[in-house]
């Protein structure tokens, strides 16, 4: 059974067995593909899984308009699921109302996204392929390693092409703030194109430091193909290395940046000894 057939079958089942009143997925119609909320099992034949299309933000919007007892299933990929988890943690989605039909990405897709985790927590459709280490990728490395000055020039050159279309922000499944600091003179000079090289891009990047799920939506959306996702990689790596924390993988766990060193110790930070427990009081 092909991936597509698997997907359709599961989607149909979850509607028929009433596990969900609606399935959010992609539909192929009039020769185009677009997101669609399937509520009638008979429509499922038009459901498709390609291309990669992030539905998390859409799901957020849809759920707002739906009755409280409505259960929504979303057919989505690893990154998309992680985005949903992050949105749940940030109180944008009610975790009760949504469940995920996990779709694993193919090797090619993983490589294209430099995805470290090209599969959802529970894979319903497709087969798991292991992730890619972005630091092994030739192109990525030119942006992450090597001489500092060179990197500075390289990034400046890239960012200089920015036309400030806000595509990166709008396409990001996590960015939900209204108003947004990127539209505030205080942080980013208004009416400057290219956008302030440092403030626009670094503020955007750092706002996502501990929530970025590395979906790559920002750079896919960028008309100038600025490799925006590469800004996140070193920060994500350091969070994993220091705290074993990866955004979107655990609904219960909050970002380690929100707790002090006694709860989430950080290597290299010497906290007064009497704080780190030598045993419990029981």
């Amino acid at each position: 059974m092909t991936i597509l057939e698997q997907a359709r079958q599961i989607a149909r089942q979850s509607l028929e067995q009433g596990r969900a009143q609606g399935v959010l997925g992609l539909r192929e119609a009039e020769g185009g593909v677009s997101p669609h909320l399937f509520e009638d099992p008979s429509d499922i034949d038009s459901l498709v899984v390609e291309p990669k299309w992030l539905l998390a933000k859409l799901a957020t919007g849809i759920l707002k308009g739906l009755p409280a007892d409505y259960r929504l299933a979303v057919l989505c990929r690893g990154c998309d699921e992680r985005a949903i988890v992050e949105l749940i943690k940030r109180n944008q989605i009610d975790g009760e109302k949504i469940h995920v039909i996990g779709l694993a990405c193919t090797k090619e897709q993983a490589r294209a996204c430099l995805c470290t985790r090209p599969y959802p927590s529970e894979v319903a459709v497709g087969d798991v392929v292991e992730g890619v280490d972005p630091f092994q990728d030739e192109r990525a490395r030119t942006f992450l390693e090597g001489d500092q000055r060179e990197r500075m020039i390289r990034w400046a050159t890239e960012l200089r092409r920015c036309v400030k279309c806000y595509g990166c922000r709008n396409s990001c499944p996590i960015c939900v703030c209204v108003p947004c600091k990127l539209e505030d003179d205080l942080w980013v000079g208004r009416g400057e194109i290219p956008a302030d090289l440092i403030s626009f891009h670094l503020i955007r990047a750092f706002h996502l430091c501990d929530t970025c799920v590395a979906c790559g939506a920002c750079q896919d959306a960028c008309p100038e193909n600025i490799p925006l996702m590469l800004l996140q990689i070193s920060m994500r790596a350091s969070l994993v290395e220091k705290y074993g924390y990866e955004a979107g993988t655990d609904r219960e766990r909050r970002s380690p940046l929100l707790s002090d060193l006694t709860k989430e110790p950080s290597p290299g930070c010497e906290v007064p000894g009497w704080m780190d427990s030598l045993g419990d009081s029981a």
Partner: protein, 410 residues
């Protein structure tokens, strides 16, 4: 000279250390007038002499900071610095106390800390009241001052008048709280410790000031006799304390104090070999034992149980010799150190000569007699305690002044 206390039932507080400050603030916050009598030029007492505090390694001034400012700014607290209690006469409901204040050769309220006087003074009689004192100001050491009025001439605000005299003030108060704290005692009488025979044999409070980050050496560890980096430092516990010849009591703060100092020495120059000679390691306070474990684990600090029998400077001048028995290995040894810190001989400051009238009686060990204490006391002058216990006592002493009132009221 007897006069009625004011409507706010003023309380007279003797001593502006940690305990005094706390009691003063508590009373004032509860709406009572306070006369805070401090013998030094500024508030803070012994804590102000300390560099770091155990077990949190806070800078001492940092914790004192807010309290001192609040004291200074509180409308109900009248502060008398450079003052001491001369005489108490007791009426039925209140007391009259004679305070000798000053002389304030420099009027703190007019000093803008421009430092011209210090610069001008030919005999270096003028010193800042303290690195972190609030408000920053200068004080003239009357004993050093040669009476030339250069400072008066250069002072732009007319804050200085070296001819000011001390003045007698009579305070009518309803209550009195003793919070006179402690100081370090001279233990040269105990010859075996060799105090005074070598500049690098010092008391732990001297040592604290010597290694203080705010001090002359900016926190670097140097010997006193030639400013070289010491290779080894010995901390002698219970020197002069738990010792019938001097103070039979345990000063209770010294064990942690020594561990703290050893740790800071280690932190600043890890090469220094620190040895603590102890009798019982009394780390009973909140989180103290963990602090101690951290010492042992973190820094290579040596603990030896035993009190040195003899400490003397080596004739050749290179260092100080220690004769001791390690009572846990029952071995007699002789060892050379560059510096020796004598820890333990802390003495209540209550035994100040010259107080007349209704003075407190002291028990055999020099503390305010618990049995005959007419007025509440708190802090070290009541019994040897650490900061936490001392300020807790202060608050409870403040409370007792109210309770006494209630009783009197009934």
């Amino acid at each position: 000279m007897a006069s009625e206390p004011g409507p706010l039932n003023p309380v007279l507080l003797i001593g502006g250390g940690a305990a005094g400050i706390t009691a003063a603030l508590d009373l004032a916050n509860a709406g009572r007038a306070v006369h805070l009598v401090e013998k030094g030029p500024t508030l803070g007492g012994q804590i102000a002499r300390l560099d770091k505090l155990y077990p949190t390694d806070h800078c001492a001034f940092c914790l004192l900071w807010t309290e001192v400012r609040l004291c200074r700014q509180h409308p109900l607290i009248k502060l008398h610095t450079l003052s001491f209690l001369k005489d108490i006469t007791r009426q039925d409901r209140y007391l009259n106390a004679m305070i000798i204040e000053g002389p304030h050769l420099i009027d703190e309220s007019r000093c803008i800390f421009c430092g011209r006087c210090e610069e001008k003074c030919p005999v270096d009689a003028i010193k800042s009241v303290g690195e972190h004192a609030y408000p920053p100001s200068y004080v003239i050491d009357a004993d050093v001052c040669n009476g030339c009025d250069e400072c008066m001439k250069v002072c732009p605000t007319g804050a200085i008048d070296i001819h000011r005299q001390e003045q007698e003030i009579v305070i009518a108060a309803e209550q009195l709280i003793w919070a006179t704290g402690f100081g370090d005692a001279d233990i040269s009488p105990l010859k075996e410790y060799g105090y005074g025979t070598h500049p690098d044999i010092m008391s732990s409070l001297e040592f604290e000031e010597w290694i203080a980050e705010a001090g002359a050496n900016k926190g670097t560890i140097l010997t006193r006799h030639n400013g070289s980096v010491p290779k080894s430092i010995a901390f002698i516990q219970c020197a002069g304390a738990r010792d019938k010849r001097m103070f039979p009591y345990c000063s209770s703060v010294c064990c942690m104090h020594a561990l703290k100092q050893a740790q800071w020495v280690k932190r600043r120059s890890p090469a220094v070999d620190c040895v603590v000679f102890y009798t019982d390691l009394r780390t009973e306070g909140r989180h103290y034992y963990e602090y101690y474990l951290r010492e042992i684990r973190g820094t290579s600090l040596t603990l030896i149980r035993g009190r040195p029998g003899l400490i003397y400077p080596l004739p050749s001048g290179e260092g100080i010799a220690l004769r001791y028995e390690d009572t846990l290995s029952q071995t007699r040894e002789m060892r050379r150190f560059d510096m020796v810190v004598l820890n333990g001989a802390l003495q209540t400051s209550l035994t100040r000569p010259g107080i007349t009238g209704h003075v407190p009686t002291l028990d055999g060990e020099g503390f305010l007699d618990k049995a005959v204490g007419h007025y509440p006391a708190c802090g070290f002058c009541k019994e040897p305690v650490d900061v936490e216990a001392s300020v807790a006592q202060a608050s409870s002493a403040a409370l007792h002044t109210f309770l006494k009132r209630e009783r009197n009221g009934k």
